[in-house]
């Protein structure tokens, strides 16, 4: 391949000569790949840890029987044990406890049948308590608990020590009867696990007569599928029989949204990298125009010329991708602890100790990095091959083929915009369950739209300049006229700078409009549904997907209402139920009490029905996403799995809810208690009597439960601030990306203007020699710069408004329903435009100074 020769002889030297620019592009792609790699590693590590935990905790069980989160009658154990082919079936209670002192260290509590559980799980217990000789018997005492050696060491707990543990029933005291060696389940969750006797656990956690799970091992020779069917047939409807792998998969689904937003960041970073590559190659093509002309004159084919630039890109991006892999691994190492903490509090307990690095994924990331770069370099390198040998080697080049090239650009630009439209159309018309309705579609549409608009920048710039000529140029004197003409002369190169500004501005406009819409939608929603003065939650108030918490007993409502100044404490219960393999949030609300002070936004159905028809009856309302997922409308019936088996509910309305991205089903609290036999609450909404101070009441509640129970007590202001904080946090990353792209855009302008100043040395010399002042020369460059910034800013605003809407579709409406409306954030648009022009002028300062310093005699004798 002679391209390799050209690369070796020409490109390597260029890369070395244009260190700064090559380095920018290198860093861009490296960061993009690093983002993808680290996100992948973190994701895989989290999943692997979930999987590992599940496998350790399930031991030799190959099937697990579960029901709703509140457990099911232990009588089912007998039923399962009698199914032919079942080897062992053991009952399990799995819940959470929390040490009542020290930092908030929550741990999983496994309640097991001491006599049988050895058939499924291996425990090695050492350091047994000395006063009870039989290691198995000691667990039968209701206050006995086993801790892992790891946890005991960390919390400085000794054998026979009494520990206070917070449970559903309030704080309980247990005695540590032994330590578990790190083996089997004791190695799961980083050792944050305790084992109790089943009966004791039932008592402690308010689950008398109920169990959470049955772990099943099957006889040799029986197939998993037949056994699943047999057990299913033996049990009432509504039970889930799943493999441990299936449970990991559920966890994976649960984290889908989290991963989606992480992936989005990865794509964005890569897109920024692509932009840098595009910028680098485009400018390099412009600057090396003469070289290309010479090569063409000496007999380089078009393919050789474009191959040269593509080859340079491949070399650069390969190096960048390799660098990105290393960087990504480091990034993953740094961020894994923080991510693990977030995941634990929002989704479920996990303990990530090792990074899971999958070589195949790394290879894929390298390929994506290189492919993305080559795609980014495609257009500029194609335009390089169009450079005519004659015009490039003349002393004053003619722009002969510019027009034809622009026609091609227009077509390509329209094609990409058309593709974006088509993708959106398919997306909008696809059924909710269809795989076409995914955020990958909206991301594709967004990228295609951005690409399309980027390609239209030369055209837009020409229009923009001619408008500028007509409207303003006269008023700006000779400088104004010349500035416009100069921009027109090198449309392609200037368009690259405009495109860079366009891209960064569109990102910031779209993300701020998105943020604004979500903020407004969410805050309006909260103002509707959560008008309480003080909120009490058992887990993190914003945990979205049912991270395990320790629910509070319903009786707490009475205790709270007894506090002076409290008008009412309304209970809420939130738990996840599994409907045909997918988790949905079931929200039990005391409807009559709740509606006294809050309103519900009904999308379909009669507004009044919620209050009149739901209380006490087998009636539900569903959120928009549940309605569209299961095709429900008011008047339909929908069967839910309940501890009493499947129950048919009447759907009376479709309502707005942002409570969970998995979809929400509302039920009256009384109905819920009757059917689920569950007397717990995850949240109390407390209303303060008029004339009483909310803060005082809040503090009184905190004081009352200070030593008894770990919970979150927030007044409504704190609660809203907490939500805002979370929202802001998720957009912080976005802002960082925006800043980076803005910096890149500024860099692009500097390079463009510098190139244009150098090229015009002679022209500037002439202008100076016939009497143009230094100030006028730099003014000329600054006007050009400001025009570039403004053009990019306007185009970016337009694109940003569109892509903001597209992202709202793909990231919020998809999960939360169409009720959230798109709000353009005008203030941020003003800022963006100001920023674009300001940044452009700032970037123009240095080239302007260079231009003003042009030495007249040297400039005129040049060439």
């Amino acid at each position: 391949m002679n391209i390799l020769q050209l690369l070796r002889h020409i490109s390597v030297k260029h890369l070395r000569h244009q260190k700064a620019r090559s380095l920018m592009a290198l860093i861009g792609i490296a960061l993009g790949v690093a983002a993808m790699v680290s996100i992948d590693i973190v994701n895989m590590s989290v999943l692997r840890s979930f999987e590992d935990n599940i496998n350790r905790i399930t031991g030799r069980a190959v099937l697990q029987v579960t029901d709703a989160e509140s457990g099911f009658p232990e009588a089912m154990l007998d039923v399962v044990q009698k199914v032919p082919g079942v080897e062992y079936a053991v009952p399990v209670i799995e819940t959470n406890g929390c040490l009542a002192w020290g930092d908030e260290r929550a741990f999983a509590v496994l309640g097991v049948d001491v006599l049988q559980d050895g058939n499924i799980r291996d425990y090695s217990i050492t350091d047994e308590s000395s006063d009870i000789p039989d290691p198995l018997l000691f667990l039968a005492r209701p206050d006995s608990i086993l801790l892992t050696r790891e946890m005991a060491a960390r919390e400085h707990i000794a054998i026979d020590q009494q520990i206070k543990v917070q449970t559903v029933q309030g704080t309980r005291t247990f005695t540590v009867r032994g330590l578990l060696e790190p083996d089997g389940p004791a190695k799961a969750l980083g050792g944050d696990i305790a084992v109790m006797d089943l009966y004791a656990a039932q008592l402690a956690f308010g689950k008398e007569g109920r169990i959470d799970r049955i772990d099943v091992s099957i006889l040799r020779g029986e197939s998993l599928d037949t056994m699943k069917e047999r057990i299913q047939a033996a049990l009432p409807e509504g039970y889930n029989i799943d493999t441990p792998a299936g449970r990991s998969r559920q966890m994976e689904n649960l984290m889908g949204r989290f991963r989606k937003s992480m992936d989005m960041i990865g794509y964005l970073a890569l897109f920024v990298g692509m932009y840098l590559i595009y910028n680098t190659v485009a400018i390099s093509v412009v600057q090396r125009g003469r070289e290309i002309g010479i090569l063409r004159a000496l007999g380089a084919t078009r393919r050789q010329v474009s191959g040269l630039f593509l080859g340079e890109t491949v070399v650069l991006s390969l190096a960048a991708s390799l660098l990105g892999i290393g960087l990504g691994i480091i990034l993953a190492k740094i961020s894994i602890t923080a991510v693990a903490r977030t995941v634990s509090s929002m989704y479920g307990r996990s303990s990530i100790t090792d990074l899971t690095i999958i070589p195949l994924h790394l290879a894929k990331d390298i390929a994506i990095g290189v492919a993305a770069s080559v795609i980014a370099a495609f257009f500029p390198s194609r335009s390089s091959s169009r450079i005519s040998p004659i015009s490039a080697i003349r002393s004053t080049p003619y722009s002969s083929d510019a027009l034809r090239r622009h026609r091609g650009l227009t077509i390509a630009s329209l094609a990409f915009i058309g593709i974006a439209g088509a993708i959106l159309l398919v997306y909008k018309t696809a059924a909710h369950a269809s795989p076409l309705r995914s955020s990958s579609m909206t991301i594709a549409a967004m990228l295609s739209l951005l690409l399309g608009i980027s390609l239209s920048t030369p055209l837009f710039l020409r229009r923009f300049i001619s408008m500028f000529h007509r409207l303003f140029a006269g008023r700006l004197g000779a400088g104004g006229r010349l500035a416009g003409l100069n921009l027109e002369k090198n449309l392609t190169r200037n368009a690259v700078a405009v495109a860079a500004v366009f891209f960064s501005i569109s990102l910031s406009v779209s993300s701020s409009s998105l943020l604004f819409s979500v903020q407004k939608g969410l805050m309006d929603y909260i103002d509707d549904v959560e008008r309480s003065d003080v909120l009490i939650t058992s887990g993190h108030p914003l945990a979205s997907a049912g991270a395990q918490t320790i629910p509070m007993p319903l009786e707490m409502a009475l205790e709270i209402e007894a506090i002076p100044g409290v008008d009412a404490a309304d209970p809420f219960r939130k738990l996840f139920i599994t409907i045909s393999g997918r988790r949905v949030l079931l929200e039990a609300i005391d409807i009559p009490r709740w509606l006294k002070r809050n309103t519900v936004k009904v999308v379909k159905g009669m507004q009044g029905d919620v209050g009149t028809m739901m209380p006490g009856k087998d009636v539900i309302s569903v959120s928009e996403s549940v309605a569209s997922r299961y095709g429900l409308k008011p008047g339909d019936h929908f069967t839910l799995p309940t501890p009493q088996g499947p129950v048919r509910f009447l759907v009376i309305s479709v309502v707005v809810s942002f409570a969970s991205d998995s979809g929400v089903i509302f039920i009256d609290y009384q109905t819920f208690r009757r059917i689920w036999q569950d007397h717990n609450a995850d949240m109390f909404s407390v209303y303060v009597r008029p004339g009483n101070d909310v803060i005082d009441v809040r503090d009184a509640i905190r004081e009352l439960y200070k030593d008894k129970r770990k919970m979150f007590v927030l007044d409504s202001r704190e609660f809203r601030a907490e939500i805002k904080k979370l929202l802001d946090q998720s957009f912080e990353m976005n802002n960082a990306v925006n800043l980076l792209t803005l910096a890149i855009a500024g860099f692009g302008i500097i390079i463009t203007l510098l190139a244009s100043v150098f090229e015009r040395t002679r022209e500037i010399g002439i202008l100076r020699s016939i009497g143009m002042k230094r100030g006028q020369v730099s003014g000329l460059v600054l006007i050009e710069s400001a025009l570039l910034g403004l053009a990019g800013g306007l185009l970016g605003t337009f694109a940003g408004v569109l892509t903001g809407w597209i992202n709202l579709e793909g990231f919020f409406r998809l999960d939360f329903g169409d009720s959230i409306s798109y709000q353009v954030h005008y203030l941020s648009i003003c800022w963006a435009l100001l920023l674009a022009v300001g940044l452009a002028v700032l970037a123009g300062l240095y080239p302007a100074r260079r231009a003003a310093k042009t030495n007249i005699t040297e400039a005129l004798s040049y060439e």
């Binding site: 020769q5 070289e291 010479i294 004159a297 007999g299 003619y398």
Partner: protein, 229 residues
């Protein structure tokens, strides 16, 4: 060996059509040293570009060794430039990032020949140009005359059928110009076909035949046999 039959070329300058060449017919024989004269803008460069396959005529026909240069694909034309034509430009047009030897080797590098094979030939050519000390220098380290001699070596490296020079001394002082002309003359004496554009009658006199252009058409065609020949 080169034939132009009614070749013409026009350009669009904005909305205006410029006829740079009008129905030029010309036969250039093997071993000829043709000087093309004419005022600025008379179409000299355009003529040379058509002969060298840098551009295609808007009308008429051009043949090199009986094969057409008009109406063929860009790739075919490119290969003719690479293998059959050697160019010498007014502004030298060396690649600044390459050394003298690499610049000379460029046409063969494009062909895919390994540099190690080309290098002896390139060094040899540079020696013949009196540049043995300059083999590894880059253009910015060379004087104008030296750069043009590197460019001539580059034009010769493929043993081209024709050497095309567009005002080769337009950027050089008179003493250096003299040296370049002597060099071209000696190449001519070794049998090299040369077409040289110039507006200087003294320079044109080195040619064995002088064609003068006026407004894109041939106004004079004199065979002299060459200065001092």
């Amino acid at each position: 060996m080169i034939q132009l039959k009614n070749a013409s070329k026009s350009y669009m300058q904005g909305a205006r059509e410029v006829h740079a060449l009008r129905n030029v017919s010309l036969n250039i024989g093997k071993g000829e040293f043709l000087s093309v004269m004419g005022a600025s803008g008379s179409g000299k460069s355009t003529l040379l570009n058509l002969i060298g396959g840098l551009d295609q005529p808007s009308g008429g026909e051009i043949f090199m060794d009986g094969k057409p240069l008009h109406g063929i694909s860009d790739d075919e034309l490119t290969l003719i430039r690479r293998r059959r034509v050697g160019f010498i430009f007014q502004f030298f047009n060396l690649l600044p990032v390459l050394t003298a030897a690499e610049n000379v080797s460029l046409p063969l590098l494009l062909e895919g020949t390994p540099f190690s094979q080309i290098q002896p030939k390139a060094v040899d050519l540079l020696k013949k140009m009196g540049l043995e000390e300059r083999v590894d220098h880059r253009p910015e380290q060379l004087s104008g005359g030296e750069m043009q001699r590197v460019a001539i070596a580059r034009a010769l490296v493929t043993n081209p059928a024709v050497l095309l020079a567009d005002e080769p001394t337009g950027n050089l002082d008179s003493h250096t110009s003299e040296e370049i002309f002597m060099l071209l003359k000696s190449l001519h004496e070794q049998g090299q076909t040369i077409v040289m554009v110039t507006h200087d009658p003294r320079a044109a006199a080195y040619g064995s035949r002088i064609v003068t252009l006026k407004d894109g058409a041939i106004s004079e065609d004199i065979t002299t046999g060459g200065l001092e020949a």
